[in-house]
Point group: C2
Chain length 339, copies 2
DNA sequence: ATGAAAGCGCTAACAA
DNA sequence: TTGTTAGCGCTTTCAT
């Protein structure tokens, strides 16, 4: 391993000068020395020792990314494609800034804090953690924190999320336009993101119909096999009672389309189905899913961007971003008006 | 931040003693002191400074995980569910051993090496990297390396993979049993994993039929929209020419089922389709996919296990592991014998 | 069983 | 513009 000291000796200068060149403090070093040292740096394939940097400078160049798994095996193991795209996007943005991503999966905030302190992370991004957990990390940890898709009572923690309420609203508005009156919103919980979407559903329905009598929220099991049993017991009667089923994710919607078909109920002829996310599942499903589009890659990018604004101490940072959503009309919702 | 020095002062001992307690060198410290110090350690919520450890001890407790993206947008963005499950499994195993996972996405071996050296990683796991890239990292990097799903000309680099050849063999054997004679194997490349699977196809076919005249390998585009165009142009005629289509992944198989249906070709009535992986897509597809099962979580676990065997310098480590596969019969392959 | 002291590679305050 | 120096928190030899 080649050290700054070695470079300094070869160049006949002091370590400080080399350090200055490395960090681009060109105003402190003469043109010539810069060139000479930079040449040596590449020739010798100098690589910094992060341990020493962490110790001496107090800067680790590490961004910790904490991923919770609130619902355990939610979506079955492979429904996590969502977080995978997000993680790729986040890592790519972090790396671009010459930082590194230390990734840990845990729902436990204490574990998260310890993780962050141990590595002296310069910032933290969390996803899939509860409101409380994020708050605890924010309070006890000293690193800047940006959460993704979390809602807070009082503003205060930086978050990048979605216009979830708007998504629920937009889809419901569309379903109503298509003539559907009995609408069920199905999700595996009623907090945070899904709660907002449900609020959007109610809002749109009430605006158009004057009340929320025709709409209901059905909580389905997050665990795959439990959900399967739930559907075996209730799906037929749910389908009978509703005009349209609006799911909180495309994955759930695609799965339901298949389960309905197994029951001899066809989408959209017998019942309409809508999803959320505009994921691959929506395009692969037949009928192709009408859904709400969101840009996951951008979510990751924006989270990293906001985190670095926080790290750089920029003023006037918006605490909470709500990325836009849009309606994607495909084939899973029947337009009753055209009949 | 509380340091060893602080603990030492409070306990009235030297830093050395505290360090010994932390590292479980109990033979060097008296029973009493151990207890007193351990109590202090938890009370004060002592957290080690990794920077100092890296610098002083030379051990980073970091495992680098390198993920390549050889095919760019292969599978569309969200088909990466596979690597997501793997990454979770790997991280969990690493963390259990009190190590940490630094994750970086890059197809470039040079970048990977620099990454590893910068952080002085104690070991490296790679997935989705080319044979050459892994070899380069092995040669130039000094950290132990375990690759996943890579094949090498000469043995030498530790790898955890699958019995891919066996998988191709098993499925083809089954397709033949079902009476299919014209079989196409479809994948987006012909190296490594997919090449082995194809070899298995040929082997099984030749064993049963005496030659490989009825079997062919079709390379489909890895990029989603290109694949779409490819199918628009050729899928109908491919379907006409074959009895069964055996895809290198469930994702591709599920997608093809849908595209075929769009063309009015029904699975399995008009043509049989088989997948590989036994992923969520296989269960969600209708008809449910007949496929080859593999245990991705175990793949991750085994890779980490092997890496630590390497790190610990254990003797007699198998260089290359091939995890078992099994045939999962569902509904996408028609049994012609029963008609 | 315990402690003193040197040093890992780097940064940053201060001097020159 | 360049150099000197004193740590950062920890491990590790070597004394005691």
């Amino acid at each position: 391993m080649i050290r700054i000291k070695d470079i300094a000796k070869q160049a006949g200068v002091s370590p400080t000068t080399v350090s200055n060149v490395i960090h681009g403090n060109y105003n402190k070093v003469s043109e010539k020395t810069v060139q000479r040292i930079e040449k040596l740096l590449t020739e010798t394939e100098y690589v910094p020792s992060m341990g020493a940097m962490m110790l001496a400078g107090g800067s680790s160049r590490i961004i910790g990314v904490l991923v919770g798994e609130p619902e355990g095996e939610k979506y079955g193991r492979e429904g996590y494609a969502f977080s995978n795209v997000l993680i790729r996007s986040i890592e790519s943005e972090i790396y671009k800034r010459n930082y590194y991503m230390l990734l840990h999966f845990t729902p436990d905030p204490e574990e998260g804090i310890q993780f962050a302190v141990t590595w002296n992370v310069e910032g933290l991004i969390t996803l899939g953690l509860h409101t409380k957990s994020n708050t605890m990390i924010q309070v006890k940890g000293k690193a800047p924190l940006v959460s993704i898709d979390t809602y807070y009572e009082k503003q205060g923690i930086a978050n990048v999320g979605l216009d979830d309420l708007g998504g629920g609203y937009l889809m419901t508005e569309y379903l109503l336009e298509c003539g559907h009156r009995k609408i069920a919103f199905l999700s595996d919980n009623d907090v945070g993101v899904d709660h907002e979407r449900w609020k959007g559903v109610c809002l749109a329905y009430e605006k158009r119909m004057g009340d929320t009598a025709g709409v209901r929220h059905i909580i389905i099991p997050g665990e795959r096999t439990k959900r399967k049993h739930f559907y075996q017991e209730y799906l037929a009667q749910i389908a009978k009672a509703e005009d349209a089923l609006f799911f909180a994710s495309d994955y759930y919607a695609a799965e339901a389309v298949v389960r309905l078909r197994d029951l001899g109920i066809y989408v959209p002829e017998d019942i309409s189905v809508a999803g959320f996310d505009d994921s691959e599942a929506a395009r692969l499903c037949r009928p192709r899913l009408t859904t709400i589009h969101q840009d996951i890659v951008r979510k990751g990018k924006d989270a990293v961007k906001k985190l670095f604004q926080l790290i750089d101490g920029e003023p006037n940072i918006s605490v909470s971003d709500q990325l836009p959503i849009s309606l994607v009309v495909r084939d899973s919702v029947k337009n009753m008006q055209n009949i």
